[in-house]
Amino acid sequence: MEHNYVDALKDNNDKIVRELYGRHRAEFFGFSRTYRISENDSADIYQEAFLAMRKHAISGKLNEVNCSFKTYLFGIGKYLIFNKHKADASMSHYNGNLHNSDSDYESISVDITNELTEQQRLLRHYFKQLGKSCQQMLTLSFYRGLTNEEIAKQYGYESEAVVRSQKSRCLKTLKNLIKTSPR
């Protein structure tokens, strides 16, 4: 897959992601119409497909993929469209013929994200009380898996050591918030 697009998703490059979103939107809406998906639902599914692609970019899955960005996006979209039909079918009559619609895209499955546990929900409450730069620091370190050196280089910190001390300061603050909470 196009490396620059994978990097743009990982780094949240607004300019490129915006451009990709606009570039494939009309065709995706046409594609989902062939599966009798309304315009509103198409927008939701298109955005969920982008989010799933970004997760695959961050986890490194996209590095092993040979198809183009668009093929992968539409493959995920197709999977989400089928899921939507299945979910709707549980409430009304399910039309199996909908899955027979011809398309050039293989369906690509997406992992279902588990809901947060009670402990994680509580932690999220405190995480949101951190300053923006701390939230970003912890996200870059623990979710996006960047090393201290990468964070320093990409986000303008003076050195790896500055990142390390800022990260430790943020974790300390988070633990303090939990410790001093009235609960």
């Binding site: 607004d14 927008a43 300053g131 996200t139 370190s141 623990f142 996006r144 960047l146």
Partner: protein, 243 residues
Amino acid sequence: MTINETLIEKKFSNDLTEAELLEFKKLYETDDAFKQEVDFLKNVQRVSETEDDALFRNQLATYETEISPKKVFLNSKWIKPFSAIAAIFIITISISLFMNKDINNDSLFSSYFEPSKNVSAPIVRSEKDEHLTNRAFIAYSEADYQQATSLFQKAFEQTGNSELLLYEGNALLAMDKVTEAIEVFKTHLTYSDALTNRTHWYLALAYVKSDQLDKAKQELTIYIDSEEKFKKTEAKSLLKKLK
């Protein structure tokens, strides 16, 4: 026993060698403190993923709103001449400011710094009131910064009210304890409360005082871009002088 932080860091950036992975697994099974820290960080990972996803969803929703309803296009024939005029204007301003760059940082600091007013907790002057926060603000209002610093520190430890860090930093700055003030302001910036944005302003002043002008400019820019209105004009004028 201290926790092996490097091993944990490498684990979260998928950077462990086979030998390190074995060590990691062994520690996770045998060392309670290590396991506790890793489990905590796994929860941080999951929570930050959720928050990051929410931000990305908002970003996509913005694109959708921009595309779907009536889109307003700029009349492009004016863009080029307007950009050219703006560029000339910026260059002229930059040159004139560069010529007047002889700045005395100490006097700049003095002309902009005044300790923050107490906007967090009204003082109760009573012999009975033994609350640390109240005593801290009384000392602060009487410019007894030495006493105020120590009381704010204790009050923060006791209550966890992060706003107090702004005043502690101000008290330190008023006593010219710039390095310590910077540390306290940086800690305050790890929180998000009603006064966090204001700390960018005071941190910028502390950087001016300690001749760290690039950092001062960075803090001022963040401050000016924030929604905070307090001292906004002063921040803009100081940034101009530093450029």
